[in-house]
């Protein structure tokens, strides 16, 4: 049995898929290096990431399968699920055989898995578009910390670029120590850690209070429904909100 190990980047995964093809091997699994548990009976092949090889695989996906297959693969990869690499590999392999119709072959487990992962990731990204909360700092920058389950920073940043082109903002993925910095039409996603307290702008408190009060007031007392609230907005997303959900009990 052969396992391919890549460095954890999307390019690394694509390189592994490239190598599997040209070495005429079919690895049992393709794993990210931080997911490996050593076993005696398995041959581990470490793949060195190669931008050029990765690009060739990417072009092959877009041209020979479809652009949406490339999106599916990327989104599934961002789920950081342990089996994502393997599922994407099998999905693409089938894709190069079937062409763009691979996305209809949902009865195939790997196709279904990739679609399921893509859906989870894009759902969280969609939810995050609403749940990001900026705080205006003294320096005039709008700063928003988040802790999403999946690595969605790259998906949501373009949305805010289009929406708020005239303000400088930072979206900080605290868990992954990554941040998107935006200023004047351009953003970059870079490793980032922030320690210490935020120095908020003076008017920030006022608007935070207004929002909190509005949030409390908008709930209809005779319809209080904490279960429904948590179903839409799981508690793990509450940490960086300004408002405080779940404080009103049914009277």
């Amino acid at each position: 049995m052969v396992y391919y190990i890549y460095d954890g980047s999307f390019e690394g995964l694509l390189t592994a898929i490239y190598e599997a093809y040209y070495r005429r091997e079919t690895p049992e699994k393709i794993l990210s290096s931080d997911n490996v548990q050593n076993s005696l009976f398995i041959k581990y092949v470490h793949i060195n990431t190669d931008q050029e090889k990765a690009q060739r695989v990417y072009d092959a996906i877009v041209q020979k399968i479809s652009p949406s297959a490339a999106k599916n693969a990327l989104y599934a990869f961002l789920s950081e699920a342990q089996d994502a690499g393997t599922a994407i590999y099998r999905y693409l392999k089938l894709g190069w055989k079937m062409g763009k119709s691979v996305d209809s072959a949902l009865a195939e487990p790997h196709v279904f898995r990739v679609h399921a992962l893509r859906k989870k990731v894009s759902q969280e990204a969609g939810k995050m578009l609403g749940l990001v909360r900026f705080r205006l700092l003294k320096s005039g920058v709008y700063y928003a910390p988040i802790e999403p389950d999946f690595n969605i920073l790259g998906i949501i940043a373009p949305h805010f670029k289009k929406r708020m082109p005239n303000q400088d903002w930072i979206i900080h993925d605290v868990k992954r120590k990554l941040a998107a910095f935006y200023s004047q039409g351009q953003y970059a996603i870079v490793p980032f850690e922030f320690k210490g307290a935020l120095s908020l702008d003076d008017e920030e408190f006022d608007y935070q209070t207004l929002w909190k009060e509005y949030f409390q007031n908008i709930a209809i007392k005779s319809r209080i429904n904490p279960r429904l609230q948590r179903q839409f907005m799981p508690v793990r997303y509450w940490k960086y909100l300004i408002e405080t959900p779940g404080t009103q009990a049914k009277s």
């Binding site: 209809s104 072959a105 609403g130 005239n166 609230q229």
Partner: protein, 436 residues
């Protein structure tokens, strides 16, 4: 009066409007501007009653000339009153938007002085937001019943969605509870907005830069349980609104008792289950290709609170089932209880490449607990054999309704106005709960 107090009063006063959606518009940001609209809409938070908060939903003012009995802001009500200025509304919207609290503004208002005066105030506000503050986010504006069509046409240029609330499903209901409104003052603006939307759409086909007019369409809201109108009547009304005016949504709002009056029903709690069933039936009308008369008829004009309307329909039409999932067309698959739009589409896509087995159905998200009684898969039937309608009814019914049935008796309507001299409000309460 400071901004905090105003927002408290005018935010709380707007909460009974259910519509929250920010969908249907793809307005783009302009250079130097702030914001854009997202076609599927974005929810930004969920309040403690579980409803989504997408737009900053406020009234411009709650000083009202009308005296609709069901309303908190009616002229004779003893509540604190407040009025925003256009700039205050704009500042709030912009600053909440920049912090990503909201998707845009939902601006409604009580009828201040007269409908035209109010409508003009609303137009000033949205015009300011668009032209002075360069705001390109979502705006949902209420059209005030009875306002001049010219004013409505002007407002439509700046906003993404407009709505006129019908509130009460029948003219009798309006007469009884909202004597200053009539059917005509509500239906006419709807028809007007509809024709303007069609006109703008035609113009945009010819000229790319023709101005937008209410690109996200219009919606309305009905209050459920404040008048004796039955579900069949409500659904027929919704159906004709979808057909005649291409409404995007009809929202249903369970009547929340905010006041006591002999013309109003006395209820212990809002009829939430009825509202839920109406929403389910509404989706069946819009998305699943059902007709109101298929779901209900004169002999059975109320939706079953125990069972969802699709299952109820299937039970009445058992002769159409079971259907073979590998062969049935999309429309028929949609009518199977337990199969929704998503799973039906998956089935259609997947079976072009291979026939589908029972295990795959499970992965596709089909609710087999319900669906298995109505389908065959590769010719095999997975439901119970030799079962009659009433036994099937018991099986389809969610288990928890056993307990709910007891508590829901409190939601049954008792029209105290039939015997106003017999029941005092407190008496009605005890009669409903059965505690003497």
């Amino acid at each position: 009066m400071d901004l905090h107090t105003k927002l408290k009063i005018l935010g709380a006063a707007a909460k009974y409007d259910v519509s929250c959606s920010s969908s249907g518009s793809s307005r783009r940001n302009r250079p130097g501007g702030l914001g854009n609209a997202s076609l599927p809409g974005i929810c930004h938070s969920w309040s403690d009653d579980g409803r989504c908060i997408s737009l900053l939903k406020i009234l411009f003012t709650n000083r009202c000339a009308f005296n609709c009995l069901y309303c908190v802001n009616r002229a004779t009500a003893d509540v604190p009153r407040a009025t925003f200025t256009p700039d205050e509304v704009a500042q709030l919207t912009i600053n909440f938007y920049k912090r990503n609290y909201i998707e845009g503004l939902f601006l409604s208002s009580a009828v201040y002085k007269n409908p035209n005066y109010t409508m003009e105030l609303l137009i000033t506000t949205v015009r300011k937001l668009r032209n002075e503050y360069h705001f390109n986010g979502y705006i949902h504006l209420k059209a005030i019943p009875g306002a001049d069509p010219l004013l409505i046409a002007e407002a439509g240029k700046y906003v993404d969605r407009m709505s006129v609330n019908i509130e009460l499903p029948s003219s009798q209901g309006l007469q009884l509870l909202a004597p200053q409104k009539d059917r005509d003052s509500i239906i006419r603006p709807m028809g007007f907005i509809h024709s303007k939307i069609l006109q703008a759409r035609e113009e945009r086909k010819l000229y790319k830069n023709a101005p937008l007019f209410v690109p996200a369409g219009q919606t309305t809201q009905l209050i459920v349980g404040a008048t004796p109108d039955n579900d069949l009547r409500i659904l027929r009304l919704s159906e004709s609104l979808y057909k005649r005016f291409s409404l995007k949504r009809v929202y249903y709002s369970a009547y929340v008792p905010v006041t006591q009056h002999p013309n109003l029903p006395a209820i212990a709690s809002p009829p939430l289950m009825r509202e839920h069933r109406l929403y389910q039936a509404d989706w069946l009308l819009r998305v699943y290709g059902f007709k109101a008369d298929e779901l209900l008829d004169e002999t059975q004009p109320l939706l079953d609170t125990e069972l969802d309307p699709k299952s109820a329909w299937a039970l009445k039409n058992l002769h159409l089932f079971p259907v073979e999932v590998n062969r049935a067309d999309y429309e028929m698959l949609l009518r199977v209880p337990g199969i929704g739009v998503r799973s039906a589409k998956r089935i259609i896509a997947a079976r072009r490449y291979s026939s589908i087995d029972f295990e795959t159905l499970k992965r596709f998200g089909v609710v087999l607990k319900r669906a298995r009684h109505f389908i065959t898969c590769r010719g095999k039937f997975y439901g119970e054999r030799n079962i009659n309608e009433s036994a099937l009814y018991q099986m389809l019914k969610p288990a928890s309704t056993q307990q709910k049935a007891i508590s829901s008796t409190g939601e049954q309507l008792t029209f105290s106005f039939l015997y106003p001299h017999v029941f005092q409000p407190e008496d009605v309460h005890t009669v409903i709960t059965g505690e003497m």
